[in-house]
């Protein structure tokens, strides 16, 4: 006797689509991988060379290959500077640059200049990109805001950003604030532009579907709109970071008593090409490092928001 009595209806599961027709059971290979919940490894592309395939699979190998070109450049640089093609003033040897770095580091100047530049970039980037996101979201989501403020912001954007420098100096002075402000201006526009444009172009059908299931307001923003624009936001942040460094150097070249831009002008003034090259190398390394940090954020956000990877 069944205990399942009473006026209950039974849905016959045999009518649901049988397992054999389900995609997991299509082929033995995919079937076993999916069925056991193993992570799927993308199938290697057959037509490419086997070395390239190995590189795609091995992160360390790819990293090592990425270093090949810098090493080559270093060798070339060393040769050109030591065989008399260029004079030491034109192109000091890599070892000289390294020595200059060590000397500055021992005096403490190096860390001080790096630290002050990093601080300006970080502050300016955070302020600028946050404002860019907030205003971009406002303009992208609200048609009223777009109509009222869109053209004005567009016009401000059309001003070549360095044109603000004299005004900023007049208003804010030559100190930290004017530099951070300039960096913030540089970081603002890439974020603002990408966020507002991306939000305007979120698939209307998706939004409608979500709204039909009662998802509105902030929930709609965080569950649908934000994940949909996340790839654009990240690329906007990447651009903003590059702009932030650009504007930092501009601000420091135009008037600073410390920072990497100051190191550049000072070294130019007293003919220290080794320090000049050192500052350029440091900017390259710092730029790459900060970009890698955005990459970390990108992966975290993809997990947190479940965003689709940028296509």
């Amino acid at each position: 006797m069944s205990i399942n009595t009473g006026p209950t209806r039974t849905i016959d599961r045999s009518r649901s689509v049988p397992e054999a027709e389900r995609p997991g059971a299509l082929g033995p290979a995919t079937g076993s991988a999916r069925g056991s919940g193993m992570p799927e490894t993308p199938a290697p592309v057959r037509s490419r060379g086997s070395l390239l395939r190995a590189v795609a699979r091995n992160k360390w190998l790819a990293g090592a290959l990425g270093l090949a070109l810098p090493v080559l450049i270093l060798l070339l640089w060393h040769t050109l500077s030591s065989n008399g093609t260029f004079s030491p003033v034109q192109l000091p040897a890599p070892s000289t640059v390294l020595a200059a770095g060590v000397e500055l580091a021992q005096r403490g100047d190096l860390w001080f200049n790096v630290a002050i530049s990093v601080q300006r970039v970080v502050l300016g980037f955070l302020i600028g990109s946050t404002l860019g996101m907030v205003l971009g979201a406002l303009i992208g989501l609200s048609r009223w805001a777009s109509v009222l403020a869109g053209p004005t912001i567009g016009a401000i954007r059309a001003v070549p950003s360095l044109a603000w420098v004299p005004l900023l100096m007049l208003w804010i002075g030559i100190g930290e604030n004017s530099k951070v402000t300039l960096v913030a201006i540089g970081a603002f526009f890439p974020v603002y532009t990408t966020v507002s444009a991306a939000l305007k172009h979120v698939d209307r059908q998706l939004i409608e579907a979500a709204r039909s299931f009662g998802i509105t307001g902030l929930q709609l923003f965080f569950q649908v709109q934000l994940p949909a624009v996340l790839p654009s936001v990240i690329s906007g942040l990447r651009l903003a970071l590059a702009q932030a460094w650009l504007f930092l150097v501009a601000a420091e070249l135009l008037g600073a008593a410390m920072g990497l831009g100051f190191l550049l002008t000072e070294s130019q003034g007293n003919g220290r090409t080794d320090r000049l090259l050192l500052a350029i190398l440091l900017l390259a390394i710092l730029g790459k490092l900060s970009d890698a940090l955005v990459g970390v954020f990108e992966r975290w956000a993809a997990r947190r928001w479940g965003a689709a990877p940028a296509a």
Binding site: S2, T8, I11, R13, S16, E19, L206, Q223, V224, A228
Partner: protein, 288 residues
């Protein structure tokens, strides 16, 4: 007396057992519903176009759907079937007349409805499971919701792909996920726009039976758009045929057929075959 072993067949829990908020099947009344769209650019406007640059798609559509009935809307492509369904869902407003659910007019997206769209429209960054869970009524306890979603995914045959993203499943599978999402809502009115349109013939027949099973377990009101005459006849208590004599004019109800064949129906039923010939003739397909 022995307890029944865990049965592989879903019992009533799939239909209504896990309901946090049992929902009553609702009445849907179409009351002289008409809909016009702005005429497309490139067509003649103003003086020559009656209605000042508006193109009327639907005119004076009136019928009542009784609670718990399955009603199909048939009609040629572009005649306004989706438009009618969208008016019922509150996704767009009728330009004439009104739709009422249980007597109160629909204005704006109506929480009593769940829509299965003509395109599956999954959120691309969510797994099949999370997409189906989006349909759950607000405030469903987590455990209940999870169970219900898993059951629905099983019913539509997607258990093997529950963790996949929409880009990794086929169009037909996405459509089944979309059906499960609408069912998860446990709505007073289930609005389905060609829910089986992208399915292969065999899966399609199975999904039709599935819909009947779910409906038998939980007889909500179902308003369904289809272009498949046999599907409409096999599933519905009533078929509304939309159409117009003037091809350029708005569509209205051309035919309103009650199907009194008891369920379960045979697909070869003589009465259904007769109605099929009749409807096909109405749709302009002769000689069947």
């Amino acid at each position: 007396m022995t307890a029944a072993p865990a049965s592989p067949s879903l019992n009533a829990t799939a239909g209504r057992g896990t309901r946090a908020y049992p929902v009553q099947a609702a009445t849907v009344s179409f009351d002289g519903v008409g809909k016009s769209f702005p005429a497309a650019r490139g067509t003649k406007r103003g003086a020559s176009a009656p209605g000042g640059g508006l193109r009327q798609v639907l005119s004076d559509v009136s019928f009542d759907v009784e609670p718990g009935q399955i009603v199909s809307i048939l009609g040629p492509s572009g005649c306004g079937k989706s438009t009618l369904l969208r008016a019922a869902a509150g996704l767009s407003t009728a330009t004439a007349g009104q739709v009422r659910i249980d007597g109160s007019p629909v204005s704006g997206i109506d929480p009593r409805c769940a829509v299965g769209f003509q395109e599956p429209r999954p959120l691309p960054w969510r797994s099949v499971t999370d997409n189906v869970a989006m349909g759950l009524p607000r405030g469903t306890p987590k455990a209940d919701g999870g169970r219900r979603v898993a059951e629905l995914i099983d019913l539509v045959g997607l258990t093997g792909s529950a963790g996949h993203r929409p880009a990794e499943i086929s169009g037909g599978m996405a459509q089944r996920a979309s059906l499960a999402r609408a069912l998860a809502r446990n709505p007073g009115v289930l609005l389905l726009d060609e829910p089986f349109g992208a399915l292969d013939a065999l899966t399609r027949l199975k999904m039709q039976d599935l819909l009947l099973d779910v409906h038998a377990a939980d007889p909500t009101t179902v308003l369904m758009v289809t272009h498949d005459v046999e599907e409409a006849l096999y599933l519905s208590d009533r078929v509304i045929l939309l159409g117009s004599r003037d091809p350029a004019g708005p569509a209205g109800i051309a035919e309103d057929i009650r199907i009194r064949v008891p369920r379960p129906r045979s697909r070869e039923d003589a009465e259904l075959a007769r109605l099929r010939s009749h409807l096909l003739a109405q749709l302009g397909v002769e000689g069947h």
